[in-house]
Amino acid sequence: MNAIVPLVVMLPLLGAAVALTLGKYPKIQIAVSTLVLATVAVLSIMLLVHVDANGPAVVHVGGWEAPFGIVLVADRLAAIMLVVSSLMLLGVLIFAVGQGIADRDSNPPPVSIFHPTYLVLAAGVFDAFVAGDLFNLYVAFEMLLAASYVLLTLGGTGARIRAGVTYIVVSLMSSIIFVASIALIYGATGTVTIALISERVRDLPPNIQLVLCLALLVGFSVKAALFPLSFWLPDSYPTAPAPVTAVFAGLLTKVGIYAIIRVDTVLFVDVPLQTPLLIVAAVTMVVGILGAVAQADIKRLLSFTLVSHIGYMVFGIAIGSEAATTATIYYVVHHIVVQTALFLVAGLIERVGGSTSLSRLGGLLTAAPVVAVLYFIGALNLGGIPPFSGFLGKVGLFRAGAESGTPLDYVVIAAGAATSLVTLYALARVWNMAFWRRRREVEGYSSSLMASLSENPEDDGRVALKTVSPLMVSATAGLMALTVALTVFAGPLFGLAERAAENVEDPSVYVRAVFPEEVP
């Protein structure tokens, strides 16, 4: 069973190579990438079942034992992330294929580079989850970032190049901070294997531990878009094609969150980060959602809610109790699914409504009732209306915060509750304007609130309707169904998250998995 761990990285990479050589045969390319991602999804579900029953799966690549060789570790948390991300990647791929089919008549043929790059992105995401040493984690990040640079600037239009430049320069800086902190950690501990660092770092003086930990955290915070390092996200994500934005929004920031969880629970257990992380969590939530309220463009609005909701996950990480980690894991899963699905819905709105600006949308409830239902479910879920999974995750986090019970915890809980309400306000406005308002009311509609909203600077004011293929709607509906399933099966899922949190909260489980006999 352990052989599955390297397979989830290797299969997408091999698939990318095959897809690249098949650039002239788009249909075979589609078949290859769908097959690869479907296989990875099945493999990661098998891995999750195996890991849940038998403990972490560890592979020493090439037979070289840690700490000399590269080690891949899949514990429950990594396996959960693998399952969710592979399902998301598959769903978004189907959406993208549907979009390609719908565009076939009007536009130039779909770019042959999309499928190979998408698979490299998948390989990078999967590798980040199973990486057992810091340098491999860096390589994984670079893989997914390099792929994301290409996907973001796909087609090379002016808007995408401008957005891409911001994104790439920021990502490069965060990568450099990450490598520099790896170098410092190697200098301090003499290893890059996560399990071994976890053991050796305890012997360092506390202030050196703090500096090393903060250096890593700054690098990851840029990737996870924590305030004040989140400024780049709303400017770069919305300009990409809809499926690309969806997969970035769902997965890339969560890879950063996953790395922060590892830093906080395995690498630097003793560093007291609770207070700064709680403050960052509260500010991320509030500032993010205030940004969302001021947006007239649905994609930008969703990007700001994405930044804002990262705050909830950091809240859970900051508390650090088992209940909090359980809720964080559940919330991460919920947020990956619902945010990806909502961005896909935004993609559908863009096609049936001809724009994503609230000032030009209207009458979508009658024009596209299915899209309306999909949006409604997603909006309620993200806003945290019972009984949806967003509500369950937030309640779990707030309860863990109340158990911890410091005054600062209550401040963050208040900020979280307020953020959830404001999220609902922002999303309800989209509903009122784009879906509920009649088409004929759009012309000459005046409201001081609407006038105060800021449009997307790249928006040229055009309204261009495009056809929607059934495949796109069914991919979005499938992901929305998954968000509902997260609610229906919340009991078993919380149980699984709890077992994962037990492992996460006890770093010795991770260390013993890598070094079963003795720590060198």
Partner: protein, 166 residues
């Protein structure tokens, strides 16, 4: 652990210069800044291997203590390769950005007189590569006068350049 002072100073200077250059608006300078900062980081990794020593080859005779730590060198090599790839991509991005700033999106389309022809007809009448080259050289000459043209421009069209082309 002992480290060479020269390397530490070199690293510091490269970080300082690199970050300073990166703050410029022009993309080419951002690229140069990235190269400097990236290589400063490589030197940082290298410094972490401690002092100099014998090559890390296990011959069975050399004492372990004499051998230099090979792992930072391995990490450095990987980082260099990754930086190389990213640099290549950045160069392509800068070229594209410059192209858009100079020619606009019309730079991608065919001149008007070829509208309505099939692809084969257009191809037989001229070699698009030559035309590209001519246009690029024309703009290159014009842009030599004005530095910082590759900065991501807000207005994608440059009126004087378009007039010159037509």
């Amino acid at each position: 652990m002992s480290a060479s002072l020269t390397l530490v100073i070199l690293m510091g200077v490269m970080y300082a210069v690199g970050i300073y250059v990166m703050l410029e608006r022009s993309l080419t300078r951002v690229l140069i800044g990235f190269l400097l900062v990236g290589n400063a980081t490589n030197i940082l990794i290298f410094i972490m291997s401690g002092g100099s020593g014998r090559p890390p080859l296990v011959t069975g005779t050399a004492a372990d203590a004499d051998i230099v730590d090979p792992i930072p060198q391995v990490l450095m090599l990987t980082a260099i390769v990754i930086n190389f790839g990213i640099t290549a991509f950045l160069l392509a991005l800068i070229y594209r950005s410059w192209w858009l700033a100079q020619l606009g999106e019309e730079g991608d389309t065919l001149p008007d007189e070829h509208k309505g022809e099939t692809e084969a007809e257009t191809e037989s009448s001229f070699d698009p590569l030559d035309l590209d080259d001519a246009a690029v050289h024309e703009v290159l000459r014009a842009s030599d006068e004005r530095p910082d043209d590759d900065a991501p421009a807000r207005s994608t069209h440059d009126d004087t350049t378009r007039e010159e082309r037509s």
